[in-house]
Symmetry: none
């Protein structure tokens, strides 16, 4: 029943769908930009290249986005919001309490959900990863969205399951980081580093869930 998350999410997204009209040319520009940004990096991409690939005049890009850096932000912002949307849902914690009796269920749901998201937006996410460290505006966005919204909320989830005795007592930040590393490590390998490899996603997900659950279990080993 993890898709329930997606349900609550839906209402949130409906707002976003009513965005200002985007012309056909704008869509082409964004598509071209994402492709080339992902391929050569933002700074190494020229606006004339984007215009050419998008099949529009260079001036058209600047009519709509004013600056090149504005185009980058216009691309990244909505994806950044969608990236954290499942965590930003109003009654996040209660939902999870009801939905996911065990930490394992929660982990699996999140894993599946966000991996699907990664598959869908892989190129934009690649651009995000590479440009956030060099772009103060994106950094601020990231700080606000991810740090404030996601890490803090997931932290509380971890504490919650720790209180229930489901997972080990250890700094919640560290636990969050290790789980995130496992998931992000898979996402990066799967969709950015070696997308051409023959992946068995179900098996990998099972393995990761087992790895994290065992890793955080209270049992002594051997």
């Amino acid at each position: 029943m993890p898709d329930q998350v997606e349900q609550w999410l839906a209402e949130l997204l409906r707002l976003n769908d009513e965005e200002e009209k985007v012309t056909e040319k704008q869509i082409k520009i964004v598509q071209a930009a994402v492709e080339i940004f992902a391929e050569k990096g933002y700074s190494a991409t020229s606006t004339s290249e984007i215009a050419q690939k998008a099949g529009v005049a260079e001036g058209t890009i600047f009519r709509h986005y004013k600056t090149k850096q504005n185009l980058l932000i216009a691309i990244v912002t909505p994806i950044m919001e969608k990236l954290v949307a499942p965590f930003v849902i109003r009654n996040f914690q209660e939902v999870l309490n009801v939905q996911y009796e065990h930490f394992e269920d929660f982990m699996r749901a999140m894993l599946i959900n966000r991996l699907a998201f990664t598959r869908k937006y892989a190129p934009v996410l690649k651009v995000m990863i590479h440009e956030i460290p060099f772009n103060p505006d994106l950094q601020a966005q990231f700080m606000e969205h991810v740090s404030t919204n996601v890490v803090e909320r997931v932290r509380r989830i971890v504490v919650h399951f720790q209180a229930q005795g489901q997972i080990i007592e250890a700094p919640a930040d560290s636990i969050v980081r290790m789980c995130a590393s496992t998931i992000v490590g898979y996402a990066v390998t799967r969709y950015l580093l070696a997308p051409e490899r023959d992946w068995n996603d179900d098996e990998e997900i099972d393995l990761m869930v087992r790895f994290m659950m065992h890793g955080l279990s209270l049992n002594p080993v051997r």
Copy 2:
């Protein structure tokens, strides 16, 4: 006794230490370049900026490195080699068999050793991470060094400990990936994302080792 690794490593490095003479100006150039590359990214950095920060004339950079991209490679290559050096040692597997009876010992040794390395070369590693995806030459280097040398060798280690029944039967690649994710996730958070936070490295290392060992243990949970 993990420092033994460093001993074998020494012989390897001796070759590197006998590099061609580098002038004082070259050192300043490289220092300046690394700093600015790490701060703004390779493409967004101009050679005049590097020259200014290094206190040399712009022509001097090109006298030594011919092109800007050459300078990048001159910076990254030796660090890439040092990064994988501990794995490239000739009799790697035998050494490990003797040195590390348990997978845990091996993991811990590697973790400590490579984290020290990351701390030392954090800026260059940041540049590497960001430029490898966009630079064919660096990509080739990375493929050769990391894929061929490291992953393949560590893979065999994993298989070795699987055969001994120390860790679960699962695709070795996946196990390598999950461990690498855990370590790299820490390194990135520790030295790139939040270096200013108050870190307790020993505790974190213990936690990660426990996380990985439990995660890969044969025991059923609960």
Copy 3:
């Protein structure tokens, strides 16, 4: 009775008043254009800026004026005509003979009349002054209107009063130029350079008339 000039002028203007209908938008465009042209100069003003200030679409400007340079000419031409209108009157010389027995009366009348005009159209006159030297079309207009019509006619007036022994024998062109300099010098200082200063126009006019009359008198000095 200098307003008599204005009377003759009236007939001339009646033609101009029957101009083609100008829409409300056109007026706004011209107002905006004059303001910005006067502030930043013609070349440094963009049509989009004019459109924005006028509250119309950029296309509307081009629907009415075809080109930017056309807009400039549409602004300057009628003012240029009005500027020289008092001199262009058909029976100019006779009128003056009757009206103004003394050169001083003529000078004073002209001074007052054209200063009022300058006050009214100061911004457009500023644009004119700045663009005539760089715009062949405006140059031609200026040559025709000012040189042919004004200078030549005023020249004849000067000769007339010289013949009467009211003013010194000297090249009429030089006399015209010195009087024009005195008047234009005041107009420029008064309305362009230091409009915010506290001016006593009547006193200044008296002083200028005295300056010119003494300057051109036959009396020896001292």
Copy 4:
């Protein structure tokens, strides 16, 4: 003996002659720029046009002057300083008292001196006149140099000769303005509007001096 002014001036200018080294290319750039600025106006002149006329690469302009507007200022500033230099001389007033017993001598000296200057630097002065109203930096320069230094000092000269009873009692500002108008009016007509005409400078100077002296004399007319 009006050239005495030039003598005192010499010492001042010697400082300026020891300017920083200007390369041959810089001179060509400035020459080309002045010519085209004077012909089409600053805003309507492109840097590529300047580069072409100067026979240098476009980049060379920016290596030396950083921005186009900087080039303008580099051209105008020294001429603005030279323009006011004769007035800025330290013991200006005393010098004049000794040198010029009569206001007429002073006027004639100034007239001849500054007209020679105008002839020499006519193109730059044209650029100055046109760009000062639209360029805040030049405006500030002009205010400081001309208002503070020139007008104020000449004002005092006028007051001095008024006290001696050589010229009429009238607002000194107005007297300064009328004399300046006469001179500038000639300079503009002579060197900018109709340089091709056949001018008799000596005669014009005599006439202007007479015009101003009579214009400011205490005698009643007629």
